[in-house]
């Protein structure tokens, strides 16, 4: 354990130097070589992020541009993914939807990670009554099937994308509190934290200097596992009418829109759904790969070519 903390510390110091960069590049290469699925995940996620950032630059048309002269057209050179019932270009809308999904995932996970991590550190450091209280509250939230709770919350607040984001953040934070608390419980007995305390460091200093940094890797892996689920849940809620509302280009909302035309205009539902499936797949592959990568028990037993 100490070895790894040392390595993390050294890695941090080295990050600015050329040697650190080279080592980071080496780690990435090793991660990609470990399994073909890791490579697939990284490629998909990179592509999706690039399209989300630069999508508006390459988008052939304004995603909300109505063109009544070109309604319900099948895929063609002009409209790669076809058009909908008011002639909007589905490809442009899928690109716009990708940006929405990424933004949504960032907000949901930032909210739940921040809130969950603060409470987790508090719970782990304080112990006693505070710990008990926080843990029982997380138990309560975890006792619900998450999706049902999120659906109920967004319906209660009134269907909109913002409320869906909030509802999913409410569903996600307890997982992070649990995860971080567990880490803090083991970290706070470790030499470098005890040493810091002996030297007279305050609790706040220890929490921000040592704990946050050391729970970061495991939280990052959890985030990478949750991104796909956050995007999927958002779209599912939008599809059910509990999230983003048409004419939003959110993928679930586009599919709801196109659903009644599925027999005549399959491309309207097929392409946004495919984009959603590939996005979730990419993040799940990456998250899965990362989790196995940091888990020494499974490490080395996955993918690759060693028999």
């Amino acid at each position: 354990m100490i070895d790894r903390a040392d390595a993390v510390e050294r890695g941090r110091q080295a990050k600015t130097s050329a040697g650190g960069l080279r080592r980071a590049a080496g780690a990435v290469r090793a991660f990609l070589a470990e399994s073909r699925l890791n490579l697939l995940g990284v490629v998909l996620v990179t592509l999706i992020l690039l399209l989300a950032v630069f999508g508006p630059l390459v988008t052939p048309q304004n995603p909300d541009q109505i063109n009544l002269l070109a309604i319900l057209q099948g895929p063609s050179v002009h409209h790669w993914f076809g058009t909908d019932d008011v002639g909007r270009d589905i490809f442009s809308r899928v690109l716009a939807g990708g940006r929405i999904s990424i933004e949504v995932a960032i907000v949901i996970l930032s909210l739940s990670v921040t809130f969950g991590t603060i409470l987790g550190i508090l719970s782990g450091l304080a112990g006693g009554l505070v710990d008990e209280l926080i843990m029982r509250v997380t138990d309560l939230f975890l006792a619900f099937p998450g999706f049902i709770l999120a659906a109920a919350i967004s319906a209660t607040l009134g269907p909109s994308l913002q409320h869906t984001v909030l509802a999913l953040a409410v569903v996600f934070w307890p997982w992070y509190t649990r995860l971080v608390r567990g880490q803090v419980l083991s970290l706070r007995e470790r030499e470098f934290v005890l040493a810091s305390r002996v030297v007279g460091a305050g609790t706040l200093w220890i929490a921000t200097r040592h704990l946050v940094r050391n729970v970061l890797p495991i939280v990052t892996v959890q985030v990478s596992l949750d991104v796909g689920y956050a995007i999927l849940a958002t779209s599912s809620l939008s599809f059910l009418g509990l999230g983003a509302q048409p004419p939003s280009a959110e993928w679930g909302a586009i599919i709801t829109d196109g659903r009644s035309y599925i027999q005549t205009a399959w491309w309207w539902t097929a392409f946004p759904g495919l984009a959603l499936a590939l996005t979730v797949l990419g993040f799940n592959l990456l998250g899965d790969g990362l989790r196995d990568w940091i888990d020494p028990r499974v490490r080395g037993s996955l993918g690759g070519v060693q028999e």
């Binding site: 619900f144 099937p145 049902i148 209660t156 679930g252 499936a277 979730v280």
Partner: protein
């Protein structure tokens, strides 16, 4: 072990109480006047006030919560103005459809997952393994609502093999109610026509729902089969000259199942979410569809009742899983 179970039970009661607390207060912040919804849009202001008084909707929230808990202790979940029936009656009517759907999905997903996971674990690092792992992640990643629409398009609209939705074709007389599971009841009544019809209606929704179950299970089982394969007792069994099949069945799978049992709780959460989406697309008259319609109609007794029952089942399933785990692991059983 007795005290462990007792503690779990006490904890379950606490969680269930918390569930009522969260759902109750969540349902009371719903915008809109429930009395107005119950009375209908044509009702006069006087009627609305009357309904408010009858149902005590003007009382302080804590008083209302006290009343709700009192009713709950008599297993009374209140009245649904959406269906104009008791919520308990509704739930009893809709639950079997969901149990049937989720049960078959669990069986199908689990069965396929054991095969894939075993094949992947035995041929670790080969394309079989990569393909198996990929199929699992695809199963977890594919949006259920999208898969449902595609399956409907392909197998109903284009090929015409399976019906679009519902539990039975219109005009088919359902078998006499025994368990509420149509496949079982129709067989009990010896009605093969009903049975075939029920199965045809089950195929698409069960497949949709099974995808996620399969994905989660393959991930867990593959690792546990790999772990089991590395154990001494497996090597011993092989050294004794047992056939590969026997080693797999008696030694590898039997031990690899344990982690599979522990994720049943997780699977249940996944199924609850899936049921919600899948039932609404396939017009499946189950609890998920009921809850969804109740949420949309702001029918809070129905929403509350359905959420409570789902959460209660979730808690109970997790309790059973915990106890089963304690029981299956002799190190804990005899401690």
């Amino acid at each position: 072990m007795g005290t462990l179970i007792a503690r779990r039970l006490a904890f379950m009661v606490f969680v269930l109480w918390g569930v009522t607390l969260v759902t109750f207060f969540l349902s009371r912040v719903v915008p809109g006047d429930p009395a107005r919804l119950m009375a209908g849009p044509q009702a006069s202001a006087g009627d609305v006030a009357h309904i408010s008084r009858i149902y005590g909707l003007d009382d302080p929230l804590l008083v209302q919560y006290g009343r709700y808990m009192r009713d709950l202790s008599h297993a009374n979940l209140g009245f649904s103005f959406m269906t104009r029936r008791n919520v308990r009656t509704d739930i009893a009517a809709f639950l079997p459809a969901t149990v049937e759907l989720a049960g078959y999905a669990l069986l199908l997903g689990f069965g396929l997952a054991v095969v894939t996971a075993t094949a992947a674990a035995y041929r670790r690092g080969t394309w079989t393994d990569v393909g198996g792992r990929l199929s699992a992640i695809v199963g977890l990643s594919i949006p259920a609502f999208w898969l449902a629409l595609l399956l409907q398009l392909l197998f109903h609209t284009v090929l015409g093999w399976f019906p679009l939705g519902g539990r039975l074709s219109p005009g088919v007389v359902p078998p006499p109610h025994v368990t509420g599971l149509l496949t079982v009841d129709s067989l009990l009544a010896g009605n093969l026509g009903d049975f075939t019809d029920a199965v045809a209606h089950l195929v698409l929704p069960v497949t949709t729902l099974a995808a996620g179950v399969y994905g989660l299970m393959v991930r867990i089982m593959r690792t546990s089969v790999i772990d089991a394969l590395g154990e001494e007792y497996v090597r011993t069994a092989e050294a004794k000259g047992l056939s590969r099949w026997r080693v797999l069945r008696r030694h590898v799978l039997r031990n690899a199942m344990l982690p599979g049992v522990t994720v049943l709780g997780l699977e249940f959460g996944l199924l609850a979410a899936g049921v919600f989406v899948v039932e609404s697309i396939y017009q499946w008259p189950g609890l998920g569809n009921y809850a969804f319609q109740a949420i949309q109609a702001s029918d809070y007794n129905a929403t509350l009742g359905a959420t409570l029952v789902i959460a209660a089942m979730y808690v109970v399933v997790n309790l059973i899983v915990d106890i089963a785990y304690l029981y299956l692991d002799p190190r804990i059983r005899y401690a």
